[in-house]
């Protein structure tokens, strides 16, 4: 269980879903250990968050455990989407922990957002990688089958074809050096937004435990600020691509970002009283 995710599923506002898929990681594998590792490294955090003046354990978070993964990503995404649709139907927000980035397609289908906001070192706009249309490097493309537009924050890597695709009107790319100055556009207030965080958006100095590290990335604080800014508008969140090949830096950042999402979202949606 994610530490502090003690709410009853039926009364929860947020539901953690572990999605340990690890079939298309193209360099260092290990995302199958991601959900366990993120939960484990969240164990050290204080329940109380000073910025939000709120206890995590009283923020209505439940943990639905992991959805066991197998080697067919397309089938797995179908199944996981069904699990996430149950969460959405219960008026709760799915908080998915990957697993490789492919898993994000499932909660995106369940939430059915207008805008897919993603922090990622890579554009992930490939149609296929090594002939695999469900590679983790296709996730933004799949998300755009559902959402009308994508905002990719911190991207610094992509093929020539992906950059050409990213130049089209439905994709906005914000370079790592411009992320600190970025703020959600005013129209987010009227749109359904989904937020996905690939932990490799962070510089590998902050999160080395990820499959395809890419230097010149975001700092932990820049990522936190993005999550805090987007969370009030978002109906779904995931953090993905954490593996077990570091001393816990990637996992602890992912866990903290998940909590930052909950605190910022709970703060924005709380009834003032």
């Amino acid at each position: 269980m994610f530490p502090g995710a003690t709410a009853d599923r039926s009364a929860s506002s947020y539901v953690v879903v572990g999605a340990p898929l690890d079939v298309s990681t193209s360099f260092q594998p290990g995302t199958r250990f991601g959900p366990d590792r993120v939960r484990r490294f969240a164990g050290t955090f204080e329940d109380y968050d000073r910025a939000a003046d709120r206890l995590f354990s009283e923020s209505g978070v439940a943990d639905a455990g992991d959805v066991h993964a197998w080697n067919d990503a397309a089938e797995y995404v179908d199944y996981l989407a069904s699990v996430c649709r149950d969460v959405v139907r219960d008026d709760a927000i799915p908080l998915t922990i990957g697993g490789e980035h492919t898993v994000s397609v499932a909660p995106v289908r369940a939430v059915d957002p207008d805008v897919f906001v993603v922090c990622d070192a890579h554009l992930d706009l490939r149609e296929a990688y090594d002939g695999d249309p469900w590679s983790h490097s296709t996730v933004t493309g799949h998300a755009l089958d559902v959402a009308d537009e994508a905002v990719i924050l911190g991207a610094r890597s992509g093929s020539e074809a992906e950059w050409e695709r990213a130049a089209e009107g439905d994709v906005t790319v914000v370079a790592p050096e411009d992320v600190a100055a970025w703020a959600p556009p005013a129209e987010f207030a009227e749109r359904d937004v989904y937020l996905s965080v690939d932990v490799d958006a962070a510089d590998p100095a902050y999160a080395p435990g990820t499959g395809t590290p890419e230097p010149f990335g975001l700092t932990s604080r820049e990522l936190r600020d993005v999550v805090r800014a987007v969370a009030p508008h978002a109906s779904g969140f995931d953090v993905v691509e954490v593996n077990d090949r570091d001393d816990g830096q990637a996992a602890v950042l992912a866990a903290k970002l998940l909590r930052a999402f909950v605190f910022a979202h709970a703060d924005a949606t709380a009834v003032d009283g």
Binding site: V67, W70, N71, E75, Y79, A81, S82, R85
Partner: protein
């Protein structure tokens, strides 16, 4: 209750199934491959035929499950009580019954319609 038993693995999208005592039509069916600890599971997402409510369940594929036997009948509109309630004469038994009709279905007296019937619940088809 008019129903029959099937295995979860025999169901597919478009089939009927009973979820939480309600007759539902399946609009999502996905299966998880078995891991070391457990059998293959299927998730069924369905919408109530008569109440439109969404329901879901997760079961091993070899579990038994009840499927409602829903009758599809022909009827003739006798009169309109209101925009959403009509009196219909069953064309086989000539019995007259009152049933709700979706607002977007436009009928006049003497029109022939089709309707679904299960356990005293009825739904006019478009």
């Amino acid at each position: 209750m008019a129903k029959e038993q099937k295995e979860v693995r025999d169901l597919q999208e478009g089939n009927y199934v009973i979820v939480e005592d309600a007759a539902c039509k399946i609009d999502g069916y996905s299966t998880a491959k078995p891991g070391k600890h457990g059998s293959a599971k299927a998730r069924i997402e369905a919408r109530g035929v008569f109440d439109g409510k969404r329901r879901s369940l997760s079961q091993p594929v070899d579990a038994k499950i009840w499927v409602p036997i829903i009758n599809r009948k022909g009827g003739q509109i006798v009169s309109k009580e209101s925009d959403t309630v009509v009196q219909v004469m069953d064309l086989e038994t000539f019995e007259t019954v009152t049933m709700e009709i979706p607002e977007d279905v436009d009928v006049d007296p003497d029109d022939e319609i089709e309707y679904l019937e299960w356990e005293g619940k009825r739904k006019v088809l478009q």
